[in-house]
């Protein structure tokens, strides 16, 4: 009984302190006059209205083009003839099925999925050990690494492709012939995302303290990395992978310049012959990617991790 009363007292105190903090942050010095609570706050706090309006505008910015895309892709009624009575006429998924059964699209999807897998694997293989060792052994190098991993974005894709292509064509001509010659480009191009996600993950779990704690318990370097650090990097690894996947599934410049048939280049080709089907495909790829990201976030939440933990 006495414990309960203590708890309730504490909660009252904390509520008050939150309110007073809020007042302080708004530059208000006087507390709200007693008895005027509700009206007072409505007067001095326009923020919720602005926040709501802002969210609606942002939502419209994303939703309207997608609805328009969906209508164009799945409803076979030209815009000029669309009247309220015809709103539910002519809807069909046939364009999508045709696109999905196109052999070019199927082959390109397979290529892209493999590219995603290899790019993620290469990126993690390079950056995970690098990020971990830097954090636990020489944290002073973090800013250097952070700057170095940004370099791929300083160089435009065209320069990267032309430069690299010229070198490889002379040295190992067979390499550029393969679809998988895109893997190193993608790994490089996704490096800024990947490194940041991994680094943020290491910071979020205080990897250095975990490492030190495990060392005092007698654990070897390998044991610590395998049993303590990496198992706690789930969120960061998932975030890094999801970002790499999204990037690879949407990358056009490298693939087009190197004349590769990946999902994005093939979708552009397909859309020239069948605009509706092409758009339906684009919409589906977008929704699937979003759903996959959502699933990753949900499974992380269930394990008590958040995407914030991974720094994105």
């Amino acid at each position: 009984m006495s414990k309960e009363s203590v708890v309730s007292k504490e909660s009252v105190v904390s509520k008050e302190s939150v309110v007073s903090l809020d007042v302080a942050s708004r530059g208000e010095t006087a507390p709200p006059p007693v008895g005027l609570g509700h009206a007072y706050w409505r007067r001095v706090r326009p923020a919720p209205v602005i926040k709501g309006a802002f969210l609606v505008v942002v939502a419209l910015y994303f939703i309207v083009p997608m609805l328009a895309m969906a209508r164009f892709a799945f409803q076979n009624v030209p815009m000029a003839l669309l009247t309220p009575e015809k709103l539910f006429d002519g809807w069909s998924f046939s364009g999508l099925w045709t696109a999905l059964s196109d052999p070019g699209i199927i082959a390109a999807t397979k290529t892209s999925v493999l590219l995603v897998a290899f790019a993620i694997a290469l990126n993690l293989a390079l950056l995970l050990p690098l990020a971990i060792v830097t954090e636990v052994h020489s944290p002073k190098l973090r800013p250097v690494l952070s700057a170095v991993t940004l370099l791929p974005w300083v160089i435009p894709p065209i320069a990267l492709v032309v430069g690299v292509a010229a070198t490889f064509r002379a040295a190992v001509p067979w390499f550029l012939a393969s679809d998988f010659s895109l893997v190193p480009f993608y790994a490089l191009w996704a490096m800024p995302f990947t490194y940041r996600a991994l680094d943020a993950g290491l910071q979020a779990i205080s990897a250095r303290t975990l490492y030190e704690a495990a060392r005092t318990m007698g654990a070897s370097f390998t044991t610590i990395i395998v049993r303590v650090i990496i198992p706690n990097m789930g969120a960061a690894i998932a975030a890094a992978s999801a970002l790499t996947a999204a990037m690879v599934l949407g990358e056009f410049a490298f693939a087009s310049l190197l004349l590769k048939r990946t999902l994005p280049t093939e979708m552009v080709n397909y859309q020239r012959g069948d605009p509706r089907g092409g758009l339906a495909l684009a919409l589906i790829v977008m929704i699937l990617t979003a759903l996959a990201l959502g699933l990753v976030v949900r499974s992380l939440r269930r394990r008590g991790l958040t995407v914030q933990t991974a720094g994105i």
Partner: protein, 355 residues
């Protein structure tokens, strides 16, 4: 159980010196608190002891054996960090078990040790929870159980209570002491909270600017501070003018007392006197006046002022303090049972603390 020695340790980070000629000898089974303001080098000392930092000079020895070059994983110490540092992917039980698995103990003995640790730290209801499902106090109890599960030779605690709120802090503080006495492990506890240090330590080492100023039992530290820094850092002191007499005798408020060091006879100096060591007598001619009083429960603190003098803080039993309302005129004197004072002649207190 083990004796621990850190001898003439020196450590600098770039141009800033964290530890200078730092020497401490800890007896077997003893709990020593390293206490000091932030930046005084206490955490660096602990990390050097743990092997997580390497000293630039000096040596660390356990049971007389030099371990200065041993990596932390070979020292067989247990350590608790300020921010819990529990492994998030493991339950409380698995966290406690980790060190035992590393030691390659068999499943049955691991189980019995973990069960005992869960019992002594009263974590029965939380054994299968993950760190994120536990409160700060519970997590720190797991961290403590994890640190002592491997039967370490020395237990190191780096501000283990700083992240907790006041009530939990006090409970856990007492629990740490109870456990430490129960298993008898030599313990070094780093803190910036003097109440914490005075409450649980066998001996407290007060540090400033990378040096150990004094290492003594709490009572001695309070009653016979070795220098002005310790006097000012532990508890509250008044600075009173005093005149040096023969050898180590000083005259303070018309009484002759022993100082912790000798002055040149006849020369004026300053001594530190605790608020509870001053007595007041009602006197209509003053010269002191009660300026304000604050009720602190069993004690009442009075601010006593005289024009042209520094105000004095005086602590009286609250029942006695009612005789001295604000505005009443009094005379001050040293209490009869005060035999020793700390001389502050080395340098003014304020400038030493900020240097």
């Amino acid at each position: 159980m083990a004796t621990v020695e850190m001898v003439s340790i020196r450590k600098a980070f770039g141009s800033s010196v964290a530890l200078e000629d730092f020497t401490v000898r800890i007896r077997s089974g003893e709990l020593v608190c390293l206490l000091g303001p932030s930046g005084c080098g206490k955490t660096t000392a602990l990390r050097i002891l743990a092997g997580l930092e390497k000293a630039d000079g000096g040596r660390v020895a356990v049971e007389g054996l030099d371990i200065s070059d041993e990596p932390p994983e070979r020292r067989r110490f247990g350590m608790v960090f300020q921010d819990y540092s529990l492994f998030p992917n493991m339950t409380a039980r698995q966290n406690i078990e980790f060190g035992l698995k590393v030691q390659k103990k068999d499943a049955a003995s691991r189980r019995s040790i973990v069960d005992r640790m869960i019992d002594v730290t009263r974590l029965q209801a939380h054994a299968d929870k993950y760190p994120h499902q536990m409160s700060g106090g519970q997590r720190q109890r797991v961290a403590l159980a994890r640190a002592i599960a491997t039967a370490p030779r020395v237990l190191l605690l780096d501000e283990p209570l700083s992240a907790l709120d006041a009530q939990v802090r006090e409970t856990l503080r007492d629990e740490i002491r109870r456990l430490q006495l129960e298993i008898g492990v030599t313990t070094v506890f780093v803190t910036h909270d003097q109440h914490e240090a005075l409450a649980i330590a066998d001996r407290v080492g007060v540090m400033s600017n990378g040096r150990l100023e004094q290492l003594a039992p709490p009572r001695e530290l309070y009653e016979r501070p070795a220098n002005s820094f310790v006097a000012g850092f532990i508890g509250t002191v008044n600075q009173l003018p005093a005149r040096a007499l023969q050898s180590d005798r000083w005259q303070v408020l018309n009484r002759t007392v022993v100082g912790n060091e000798a002055g040149t006879a006849g020369v004026e100096g300053t001594v530190a006197v605790r608020p509870e060591h001053i007595a007041l007598d009602r006197s209509d001619i003053g010269p002191w006046t009660i300026e304000s009083t604050s009720f602190l429960g069993p004690m009442t603190r009075l601010v006593v002022a005289q024009p042209g003098h520094q105000s004095l803080l005086v602590d009286l039993a609250s029942s006695d303090a009612v005789a001295f309302p604000v505005g009443s005129r009094v005379q001050v004197r040293l209490r009869d049972d005060v035999g020793q004072v700390t001389v502050l002649t080395l340098a003014p207190l304020a400038s030493r603390m900020s240097s």
